[in-house]
């Protein structure tokens, strides 16, 4: 970079270089984003500046280095001289009329001629100081009609892309710049050229991205305040500001935010020069009080635009902002209204449903679409997984869920860069690009998740965004210099493995849906707990009752035994003893079954279960029973499913042994085990040729200790089917029986297809 020229010729002028453009701020590698560009102690070289302290008796506060000479004085002479003795008439009247209230820049009707050049006087007042910019006149003209032309043109455009292109074209034509870009800030403050108009010979920048550091936060704040900024010629040397010696050697900061002449950051000058740009005009696009973007006008030779014309530019940028807002709002509100309607219908259905999980399954594609995802999954409290579309495999889902739990995300978690944001070591298949996840209960490990495919994306940057600056340490004083990148050649960064970013509307939707489902799930959980409590009370009562019964019977037999022995009657004894043994055996059966039932309370595993293998194991366990009864068992080819295999084994063992047990006297049991598909469900059936079960008992038989037969007719504790029902519940399955007289019974388990592997 060039050494910045020393401005001014007076002895008191401080030697000026870019490093002391700001008093007491030294650039280092880490603070370039804090460069106080609003208070340089210099102005652009094409104009002059006068700062009058009007807080008390008006006094000269600061003056740009060459103004005194232009007025025919030395700067030293002016400090001592009363204002009225030297100040031009037009400025004296500004001071007289200034009053005490601050005001934004405005032009005075008077102009002033100095050294053959005519200057327009622009003044603003803040902090008790009246600042007067002397801005040279220009011969470029912008027609005031342009405001009307632009307003009409914008109104007729109904899509943003055309609007950006057209706005760039109109502004380029009206203001005569070589290139006009509509530049939009992204959510992370990097920017992208969304509209462009340029002379044919220039390379297009449309679609290029620029890193956040190109327009740092402090610059964005300035643009929000000033609405327009002009640099007529980057190659003009700055002029230093000289402060009244009475202010001491460290004069207070002078905020030049509103000065039209404020010196430009040397880094920015270098940046423009590296691009070959010589003059710029920048207009702010402000929507809802936020800096949405900029109209960036570049010229490759020096170019001046008058203050009045810049105001026209500000107005047109404002019209553009309003039209962008209208079009975006219109688009969003139409989408919003449509998806809100779908959402509220869905939530209502889910809320009203007895089995809201099935309702969610039936509406799964809607849930996916509402967040514009490719797939979704719900993992419930009892480890059931409902999934549709693009989702990781079950292991992946469970690992993800555990990770979310460990991270303690209570709000919706979102990532469009799954591989980066979700820790390594989680192997996910199929590959996922982005995920949204919301917890469905504060206590449980229940989650709803949305997934998006990874997509190949190419982002074109203006130069390498990772090298937006180079750092250089000067030889003599160890000072750090930051040089903006010299190459703006198109730099393509291809992004793999990421999804398209989640739109804010998708995030809002995910948040609302997860809150809604959370409420339903909470209600469901509460009901479940109440039901479990009730079941537990009933179980305790029934268990005590059923266990007491054999005890009572034994006591009765012991009484009879005693009576018989006292009366010396021995005939009955063998019978009494045989019944006592039977009663003891029954008690031990009850205790064994109760124990198996209580074991069902353990956590559900999610293992792969080859049903063919599981059924073979059950048949092996029942071998003696099968041989004794000469039962025939047909097993069709069964799928592999997911669940807790030891629980499912208990269930199947009970169903098959029931099928063997409840046959009409004289018949040989014949049992078929097969699958039926009824999209989106499948049923696992155990069909027998046994005694039929009346329809009125079909529900009752699955409750604890319910038996349909007198004890000596068919053996049993009344716990077996209760165990089966409990297993079904733990798998999220439905259990039932169909039976018709003479056709035996078919016990079935109905599972959702997503549980088949």
């Amino acid at each position: 970079m060039n050494e910045a020229p020393v401005g001014g010729s007076t002895a008191s002028a401080r030697p000026f270089s870019k490093s002391n453009l700001y008093p007491d701020f030294t650039l280092t590698e880490d603070n370039c984003d804090q460069e106080p560009i609003h208070r340089p102690v210099a102005i652009q070289g094409h104009g002059h500046m006068l700062v009058i302290d009007v807080s008390a008796r008006p006094a000269l506060h600061a003056i740009s280095s060459e103004l005194a000479a232009k007025l025919g004085y030395t700067t030293e002479a002016l400090w001592a001289e009363p204002l009225r003795n030297w100040i031009p008439e037009s400025i004296q009247s500004l001071i007289t009329n200034s009053g005490s209230s601050p005001h934004l820049p405005s032009s005075s009707n008077d102009s002033i001629s100095l050294g053959g050049e005519t200057y327009q006087l622009l003044h603003y007042q803040s902090d008790g100081k009246l600042t007067i910019d002397f801005e040279p006149s220009a011969d470029t003209v912008v027609d005031e009609q342009f405001i009307r032309t632009a307003a009409q043109a914008f109104r007729q455009i109904n899509d943003v892309e055309t609007l950006y292109a057209q706005a760039a074209k109109l502004i380029a034509e009206a203001f005569g710049y070589d290139r006009v870009m509509i530049y939009q800030f992204d959510h992370d403050q990097h920017g992208c050229v969304v509209g462009e108009h340029k002379v044919d010979t220039l390379e297009a920048f449309l679609g290029l991205h620029y890193p956040e550091t190109d327009i740092p936060k402090i610059a964005r704040e300035l643009f929000l305040k000033t609405k327009s900024r002009v640099i007529p010629d980057v190659s003009t040397a700055n002029l230093v500001l000289l402060f009244n010696p009475e202010l001491g050697s460290n004069p207070p900061y002078l905020d030049l935010t509103y000065s039209q002449l404020r010196a430009t950051s040397p880094i920015h000058i270098q940046y423009l020069q590296n691009m070959g740009v010589r003059a710029t005009l920048t207009l702010s696009i402000v929507i809802n009080g936020k800096l949405w973007g900029l109209v960036a006008c570049h010229h490759y030779v020096a170019r001046r635009v008058l203050f009045e014309h810049r105001i026209i530019g500000e107005v047109v940028a404002d019209l553009l902002a309003k039209r962008i807002y209208e079009l975006e709002i219109e688009k969003n509100s139409m989408q919003e209204t449509a998806s809100r309607a779908v959402e509220s219908r869905l939530v209502e259905q889910v809320r009203m449903s007895d089995n809201y999980r099935l309702m969610i399954l039936e509406n799964a594609s809607m849930i996916v679409d509402l967040c514009r995802a490719d797939g979704a999954a719900i993992i419930t409290l009892d480890q059931c997984i409902y999934a549709t579309g693009l989702v990781p495999n079950v292991e992946g889902l469970l690992v993800l869920r555990d990770w979310l739990v460990s991270e303690g995300h209570q709000e919706v978690f979102s990532t469009a860069h799954f591989a980066q944001d979700v820790p390594a070591g989680i192997e996910i298949d199929p590959p996922i690009g982005g995920m949204l996840a919301g917890c469905l209960s504060g206590l449980s490990h229940s989650y709803i998740m949305w997934f998006r495919h990874p997509v190949s994306q190419t982002v074109e940057w203006a130069g390498d965004p990772n090298k937006s600056y180079s750092v250089e340490t000067t030889q003599n004083d160890g000072e750090v210099r930051l040089n903006p990148r010299e190459s703006f050649a198109k730099w393509q960064v291809s992004i793999e493995g990421q999804s398209l970013p989640w739109e804010s509307s998708a995030l809002d939707m995910a948040d609302r849906l997860h809150q809604d489902i959370l409420k339903v799930e909470l209600r469901h959980t509460t009901r479940l707990i109440e039901q479990r409590n009730k079941e537990f009370m009933q179980l305790t009562f029934s268990a005590a009752h059923d266990l007491q019964e054999p005890l009572r019977t034994q006591a009765n037999y012991f009484n009879l035994l005693t009576d018989c022995l006292e009366a010396n009657e021995f005939d009955e004894l063998p019978h009494l003893i045989q019944r006592l043994e039977k009663s003891t055996h029954r008690m031990s059966e009850l205790v064994t079954d109760l124990l198996s039932y209580s074991r069902l309370a353990g956590e559900n595993k999610r293992e792969l279960i080859d049903l063919n293998g599981l059924v073979s194991q059950v048949i092996e366990a029942l071998e003696t029973n099968i041989e004794e009864t000469q039962a025939i068992i047909h097993v069709e080819d069964l799928p592999t499913i997911r669940g807790d295999s030891s629980k499912l084994r208990q269930c199947l063992q009970n169903l098959i042994s029931n099928a063997i047990k409840y046959v009409a006297p004289g018949d040989d049991p014949e049992i078929s085990i097969y699958i039926e598909r009824d999209d989106p469900f499948f049923t696992l059936n155990v069909k027998d040729n046994g005694i039929a079960i009346d329809a009125e008992y079909h529900a009752k038989i699955f409750t604890m200790f319910q038996r349909l037969h007198a004890r000596d007719e068919y053996q049993g504790t009344g716990i077996g089917l209760a165990i089966c029902a409990k297993v079904a519940e733990s798998m999220g399955a439905e259990i039932g029986v169909t039976s018709a007289s003479g056709e035996g019974s078919t016990f079935w388990l109905r599972l959702h297809n997503s549980q088949i592997i």
Partner: protein, 151 residues
């Protein structure tokens, strides 16, 4: 007026209890016929001459005294009483008029609600704890069959 219970029906699914109760009745000295039904629905078939009892024809005995268990498979004691009430009020039931069957509920009396419920039933004359002994059987006969001849 029936002078003594000639036919007694035990409705209970427990073979053991039926054994105890039959033994107690036999040992009480009364010469009664005792039938057993192992569930409420079988008992209804028995009373209304249906199901396995259909072949008995229209002339069938109505028991004078029923001992009814509560917990039974399929149709329990309470459900039996509902069906019994319907049957008694039906034209078919009236055929056996006057139905003056004495029903005594036998329970292991674990559940206090059952006793309360029994006292509210117009068909239940008494609510006794299992097992029925010869002594309690004699008390029942004395209470509800005052003119019974003691053998």
């Amino acid at each position: 007026m029936i002078t003594k219970p000639e036919l007694i029906l035990l409705i209970d699914d427990s073979d053991d209890d039926n054994y105890f109760h039959q033994r107690a009745i036999v040992r009480s000295g009364y010469d009664c016929k005792i039938d057993v039904c192992t569930s409420g629905d079988v008992a209804m078939d028995y009373l209304s001459n249906q199901g396995e009892y259909e072949s008995r024809g229209t002339e069938y005995p109505v028991p004078d005294l029923i001992f009814l268990d509560i917990n039974m498979p399929r149709v329990n004691g309470w459900e039996f009483l509902e069906r019994y009430a319907q049957w008694v009020e039906s034209p078919d039931g009236n055929r056996a008029e006057p139905v003056s069957v004495i029903i005594v509920m036998l329970s292991t009396s674990l559940n206090p609600d059952d006793k309360e419920r029994a006292s509210e039933s117009r068909f239940i004359k008494d609510y006794l704890a299992k097992p029925l002994t010869s002594e309690t059987f004699i008390e029942v006969v004395n209470a509800y069959f005052p003119h019974a001849i003691d053998k």
